[in-house]
């Protein structure tokens, strides 16, 4: 039973790791991240208004 459980957990972990890696590469890798600097924050918060959020 224990060997079976170890196999099942190891398999689930491997699939999970693969799925997480795919999600990361597709949507969250550095290439998908916006470059944010102090100047960008200043522009975002203290200069031009964010558009399209008026209600």
């Amino acid at each position: 039973m224990r060997m079976r459980l170890r196999f099942e957990i190891a398999f689930a972990l491997a699939v999970k790791l693969a799925a997480l890696t795919v999600l990361y590469l597709l949507f969250f890798a550095p290439a998908h991240r916006p470059e944010i600097s102090a100047a960008a924050v200043a522009q975002h918060l203290y200069a031009a208004p964010p558009q399209g959020v008026l209600r």
Binding site: L20, L23, V53, R55
Partner: protein, 519 residues
């Protein structure tokens, strides 16, 4: 440019992943301590049934740990991509406890998980027990560091805004660490985890007794769960009261929204047990109130007011005006960093700078905001009253139900009659999902009640999100839903399978079968 759809989708994605991750966390926290208690009894008494119990519940702990581990890392993915402005603005502070959690607590936990599972035949009894307690310690420390980070979002202490770097920076790590909101949240959350672990053991043991399987193991497990669960359920309520008190000191609007407390009452304020909050008319219909109770709980006095929503909105309108002064001074300082008058004006009003940012929804010229825009922004500081009102009441009702259930289980255990009442065993079994439900409700109250801020009073949520496209967030959200749904199916499959298989009673003389529990 920020798309409001992106902001809402990013919130939905973060909320869903956080709530999914928290399906695993409370069971890990609770079961780790229960394992340590069971193994301690084994080491002290030498009775092998306690070792069998530890190993059986350890298998279920292991499944939960393996399925849950790394489900929280997706939230960290999102910080950099969906919440880039947030990460840049407060990352220096918020990132520190997250990093410490990874380096200190998670590594400790992961190391001792390995020793727990593979060390049974390789370590001395006391050595293995030490590893199990350190596993429980690591699990609880993980929660501590995460809640220090979250507590800072609720009550940002020990930090100041640096206009040269356009970031919040730590001024006192001690204050961040011993933030009263974080400490209150930690003990409340961990106690809720203990209740979850205790309910898990109680419910599955009840199932064994209903089927007449492993009665000796099940009754002993129920005894541990009943006593630990009762102590934990009482702690949740007492420590939740501390959380309420810290909210009354630091997040008055959240408290007022939870209570649908529209107008400031003469102290001590009454507590609304039941009612229907009417946001449009700013009143609570069919309210059933208990005099004094809210005042006593929230202020711990009979002569302090609990401010109502309307009054807090008026206060916040004043804070917005002071924030406009800080905003104007900041604009000057960005051009003339040595302007002493602007520096003095900024320092005087810095605490309200975040409130001025609420105006960015309505105007590009914050310093020229009209009274109507200021009033709108002030009303934006009110979170969703009806949802908070009901979520809180259901959470509290579950809390009192857990006390009653564990108290009765404790009574039956003391009378050695745990297997005598089939209705109670079925009730215990059906109660299994409730701790998860109440934990999720608790998180909803904490996080939805923080709106419209990501960092309370400092950074509005709508300015924290990145300028990514809604399509990208939709697609990644879909990916998460598919991934997490599959993971949930695997978790349930493995849990049910290994519960059905039951423990290996290798060396204990306990019978595997008995007559099913009495009806």
């Amino acid at each position: 440019m920020i798309d409001p759809g992106t902001v809402e989708l990013s919130r939905l994605q973060f909320g869903l992943t956080a709530m999914y991750h928290f399906l695993f966390v409370p069971l890990t926290i609770g079961l780790s301590v229960l394992l340590a208690i069971m193994e301690s009894v084994y080491v002290m008494t030498g009775r092998t049934i306690w070792r069998d119990m530890t190993r059986f519940w350890g298998v279920l702990f292991g499944i939960n740990f393996a399925m849950g581990v790394a489900t929280g890392i997706t939230m960290e993915f999102q910080f950099g991509t969906n919440w880039a402005y947030y990460s840049q603005y407060v990352g220096d502070i918020f990132g520190a406890p997250l990093a410490i959690e990874g380096l200190m607590a998670f590594f400790l936990e992961a190391t001792f998980v390995g020793l727990f599972f593979f060390g049974w035949d390789k370590m001395s009894k006391v050595g293995h027990l030490t590893a199990t307690w350190l596993l429980a310690l690591g699990t609880n420390l993980s929660a501590l560091w995460i809640l220090i980070a979250n507590g800072w979002m609720q009550h940002p202490v020990g930090a100041a805004f640096n206009f040269h770097t356009m970031r919040m920076e730590v001024t006192s790590f001690y204050d961040v660490l011993f933030n009263p909101v974080a400490q209150a949240k930690f003990v409340h959350t961990v106690s809720a985890g203990y209740v979850t672990g205790a309910m898990f053991v109680l419910a599955i043991s009840a199932w064994f007794l209903l089927r007449g399987r492993y009665p000796e193991l099940a009754k002993r497990s129920m005894t541990v769960a009943a006593s630990f669960g009762l102590a934990s359920a009482l702690s949740v309520v007492v420590l939740g009261d501390e959380s309420g008190y810290t909210a009354s000191q630091n997040q008055k609007m959240k408290l007022a929204a939870i209570e649908a407390d529209w107008q400031t009452e003469a102290p001590p304020a009454s507590f609304t047990v039941f009612g229907f909050p009417d946001v449009k008319d700013r009143t609570t219909r069919f309210a059933i109130r208990v005099p004094w109770v809210l005042g006593l709980i929230a202020t711990r006095s009979v002569d302090e007011e609990v401010p109502g929503i309307v009054n807090l909105v008026a206060d916040n309108a004043q804070r917005i005006k002071r924030g406009i002064a800080a905003y104007g001074a900041l604009e000057t300082l960005r051009v003339h960093p040595d302007d002493t008058a602007a520096n003095a004006a900024f320092m005087t009003n810095e605490r309200n700078l975040g409130y001025a940012l609420l105006l960015k929804r309505y105007t590009d010229k914050v310093v020229d905001a009209t009274p109507a825009q200021i009033e709108k922004a002030a009303w934006d500081t009110v979170p969703g009253v009806a949802a908070l009102f009901w979520a809180f009441r259901f959470m509290v009702a579950f809390g009192f139900y857990f006390i009653a259930l564990f108290a009765f289980a404790f009574y039956l255990s003391a009378r050695r009659r745990l297997d005598r009442h089939g209705w109670f065993l079925r009730l215990a079994l059906w109660s299994l999902p409730l701790p998860w439900l109440s934990s999720e409700l608790g998180w909803f109250v904490a996080e939805y009640g923080r709106q419209p801020w990501t960092i309370d009073g400092v950074l509005p949520t709508f300015l924290s999100a990145s300028s990514v496209s809604a399509g990208t967030v939709w697609t990644s959200l879909l990916g998460f839903v598919v991934f997490y749904s599959a993971l949930a199916v695997v978790e349930l499959y493995l849990m049910v399978k290994y519960v059905r298989i039951g423990p290996s009673l290798g060396s204990s003389a306990a019978p595997r079968r008995a007559a099913p529990a009495a009806e």
